[in-house]
Every structure is written in structure tokens, then in C-alpha cells.
């Protein structure tokens, strides 16, 4: 999802850089408060871990391979503000030292993968986890919650990315949004499964380590998580809002592309300001929204199954003598 330079316009890049700098400043402050003097070493070495984890490919069907993004996993294990600083460090190094992702679009990449990805993911994780104490990771729920959060966060980051591209007028907003979200709804499945596997392995290997890692995340007050999450959602809505406007040129192409009858197309184009009120397009959007909601529910169900399948079996109680 690293956007190279050349796609984003200068104003969009500068705006994104401003937003990410503000978020990074707040998160650095917060991370220092949570971790104290250990913060620097913790951020540096866990960033090395995330970077290395991103380099390990796993095979996906058809000879292709995928890798972890790791933002949500980092947010769950370290707390969202530490995860933001960690992901930023990874992105800066990837850009400036290894030439991966653009320099001008670094701000946008940080916004997508270091701000939106961990924060949306963590908010969803806490939402699904509900009242269960986050420091006591037991049973299927944390794994299912992490899987679903990883998928949602990947899609949200892709939508933000699409918004940035659309604001830079790369192509018609609807085309970009559907392409990015469509592709990343599939990529997100890989992210969800591998994150769930990693959390399950961690709980199995070192439950006390996860508890300790989780406790630094659990010291984060719910409000301080939900508020940035809401802000991120609002930013997302602002980015996506251009999609609601009709963009005659692009819309025409989309309409032709989808094979909607020319009569409806001309109707929608003759009334560009009443884009949503047009019956043909309106029901089209509604169908898309319905399909999206159904897909999300399906993924949620799959995540529950995954959580149940991966949750560690209850340890046999060795303190009781076996009954005759």
C-alpha cells in the first residue's frame, strides 16, 4: 500500500504530512508517558521486529505471496500510540534508506499505515472485545477480535488511500474507491488470518508475556482510544465525501462500465446536483452498501470461527489426581 511519489498532488501531500505530524507528536508524548525511559529502546527494537515480520512472505493461492502489515497486531500488543510511533519509524526507514514509498507522499503513507491502520484496528478490537479485560486474554474472543480488526483496518486504510488518490484527481473517485477497497478486502483476509495465528501462537507460547504486553495497552483509557478512533473515522468520512458528489466525467465512465442503460445514465448526468436522488444510481449505491454490509458480516462470522478454531484448549488440570 506504499504510495509512490507522482500520484498525489502537492496540496494533498502537504495536508497529509501535517495531519501525520500532529498525530505523531501526540503519540510520541503519550508513548513516552506510558513507557517512560524504556520508550526509545522499545520503539526501536519492536520497529525492527515489525520490519522483519513484513519481510517474511507467506504463500497465497496461485503462486503469489503476501506479508503482514502488522499495524493492528502492534497496536494490540503495544498499545496504539506506541504502535503509531513504531509504524512511523518503519515507514521512514523504508522510504529514506530502502527507497520504498515516496518522499513527498511519506506523510500520506504514515497517515494510512501508521495512523488509520493501528487506530481503527485498535478501536474495533476493543469494541469486539467488549467488557472482557484486555489484559486477560482468554478463549476465542481476543483472537476473533484481532482477526476482524485487522481486516477492517486494512480496508479502512485502503479507503483513506483511495480518498487521497481521488483528491489528487488521479481518476474518478468511485473507480479508485471500488478498486482499492475491493483489492484490500482480499488482502485484509490474509492480514486477519496471519495476525490471528500470531496472537494464538503468542498466547500458547508465552501467556505471561502477552499479559504484560497487553497491560501496557490496557492502561490506555477507553476514551483516549475511542476519541482518536472517531477522529480517524471522521477524517475518513471527509476523505470519502468527494465520492458522494457527482463527478460527471468519471461517473459517466463508471455507468458505461457497469452497463447501466444509457437512459438512466443521461438522466443522472442531466441532474448532476441531485446525484443521490436519481433512482437508478440510488439503488445501485444501496445494493453496493448492502453487499458491503453482507460481506463484512461474513468476514465477522469467519473471524469468529477462526477464533474458536485457534483458541488454546483448556490446560488439563494436573493438580487433581485422576479419578478412578
Amino acid at each position: 500500500m506504499h504510495i509512490p511519489d507522482g500520484f498525489l498532488s502537492v496540496p494533498v501531500s502537504v495536508a497529509c504530512a501535517g495531519l501525520s505530524t500532529a498525530a505523531l507528536g501526540a503519540a510520541t508524548f503519550r508513548a513516552h508517558k506510558v513507557l517512560g525511559p524504556r520508550a526509545v529502546a522499545r520503539v526501536g527494537v519492536t520497529a525492527a521486529f515489525v520490519f522483519a515480520a513484513q519481510m517474511l512472505n507467506f504463500p497465497v493461492a496461485g503462486g503469489t505471496s503476501g506479508h503482514l502489515i502488522g499495524g493492528v497486531l502492534a497496536a494490540v500488543l503495544l498499545g496504539p500510540s506506541v504502535a503509531l510511533v513504531v509504524m512511523t519509524a518503519v515507514l521512514v526507514l523504508q522510504c529514506l534508506v530502502f527507497g520504498d514509498g515516496g518522499i513527498l507522499s511519506l506523510g500520506a503513507n504514515i497517515l494510512n499505515m501508521a495512523v488509520v491502520h493501528p487506530f481503527v484496528g485498535f478501536a474495533i478490537y476493543r469494541l469486539v472485545l467488549g467488557r472482557q479485560s484486555p489484559s486477560a486474554l482468554r478463549g476465542a474472543r481476543p483472537i476473533a477480535a484481532l482477526a476482524f480488526a485487522s481486516w477492517t483496518a486494512t480496508v479502512a486504510a485502503a479507503a483513506t488511500c483511495a480518498g487521497e488518490l481521488a483528491l489528487s484527481r488521479v481518476a474518478a473517485p468511485l473507480v479508485i474507491l471500488s478498486a482499492m477497497v475491493g483489492v484490500h478486502a482480499v488482502i485484509g483476509l490474509g492480514e486477519a488470518v496471519i495476525s490471528a495465528f500470531v496472537l494464538a501462537a503468542l498466547i500458547r507460547l508465552r501467556p505471561e508475556r502477552v499479559d504484560r504486553a497487553g497491560s501496557s495497552a490496557s492502561s490506555v483509557r477507553v476514551a483516549s482510544v475511542v476519541v482518536p478512533g472517531l477522529v480517524a473515522a471522521l477524517a475518513l468520512a471527509l476523505f470519502v465525501s468527494p465520492f458522494a458528489c457527482t463527478w460527471p466525467d468519471g461517473l459517466e465512465r463508471v455507468v458505461q462500465h457497469l452497463g447501466i442503460s444509457p437512459a438512466i445514465a443521461t438522466l443522472s448526468l442531466s441532474a448532476p446536483l441531485e446525484g443521490y436522488a436519481v433512482p437508478g444510481m440510488g439503488s445501485g449505491l444501496r445494493t453496493t452498501a448492502l453487499a458491503g454490509a453482507l460481506g463484512t458480516l461474513l468476514v465477522f462470522g469467519a473471524c469468529l470461527v477462526l477464533g474458536l478454531g485457534l483458541s488454546p484448549r483448556r490446560m488439563r488440570d494436573h493438580t487433581q489426581p485422576p479419578r478412578r
Partner: protein
Amino acid sequence: MSGTHLLRSYAHLDSPIHRVRAGTKLLITLLFVVGVVLVPVAHPLWTCAAIALLVAVVLAARLPLSAFLARLALSQPFVLGVAVLALFQGRGLAVFAALALKSTACVAAVQLFAHVTPFYDLLEVLRRARVPSALVLALALLHRYLFVVLEESRRMHRARTARTWQASGWSTWKSLASVIAVSFVRSTARAERISIAMRARGWS
């Protein structure tokens, strides 16, 4: 287990370009990218001129050309994937060509910068640009331990593969996941040790 070639850097070579100060190079790269982004779609010749300039600098920097091009080709799927979306609009082909050309030029510029700038010079630039010192130190630690963690997880993965008879499908994912999990546990323990060592030597 691909990826080593992604981390190969030619910043240790020597050429007139390598000897330019890192801050100057960063500024020039940024200006170059902004310049290319600002070229309107109707004037592709300007982008071509920029690419010609870039090729001259790559040659002057004496970078191994085949490695440079191979690395550039790796970025093409995303570039072309996004540029193709531009086909769905008026004058689609012109926009597609302009976007692909511009973006390739920018990717090459960033690659060039990465290959001619030693990492510690870059840290010095960041420090002088008033990036918070904690962040610069975290970046230094990240670069220092990246190869350690990567090598460690590769070794674990290789050991695991050697002991698994023809792993495929889910078991590959499972073994990779346990490698990542163990790698995380080791990283937190290592961070703890490093921080204790730093404080023992008077860092605060």
C-alpha cells in the same frame, strides 16, 4: 524467503554523487519530486527530460545498473495498478501514460537517493532538521537491530522448515506465525536488555 535484495544498499560506494552532503541530496530529491508532480499531463516532454537527467545522475553515481533497474521493476505493479484506474476517464490514455511516467521517475529518484546516502549521514540531517532526538535514536536502533532480528527469524524459519516434511498450506502459515510470535517475544526481551544497558552507561 525473498527480500534480501530489497535491503541491499549501495551507499557505501564512492562517487562524486556519494560525496555531496546528505542534506543537499535530500533537498534536491524533494524538489525534483515536487517538480515532476507539478508537470501538467499535457507536457510529457518535461517528464522525459527529468528522466534523462536522472539517468545521467545514476550513471555518474556508478551504481550497478541491472540491480537498480530490477529494484525499479519491483515497484511497477503498484504504479501500473493505480495508473490503470486513470483509463476510466476522459483522455484516459494520456493520463495513464503521464502518471506511469511521472511516478516511475519519482520512484527512481527516491531509489537513487537511498542508494547514494549513507544511513548515518541521513540521521545527522534529521537531527539538524530538529526531528525529536528520541525519534532519531529510535530510527538508529531500528536500523541497527533490523538485520539482527531478520537474520534471527530467518534462522528460526529455516530450522522449522528443515524439520517439517513438505509443509504446505495451513502448516506453512502456522509455522510462520510461530516464528513471528517467538520473534516478538525475543524483541521485547531484547529491548528490555538494551534499555537497561543504555541506562547503566549513563543514558537518560
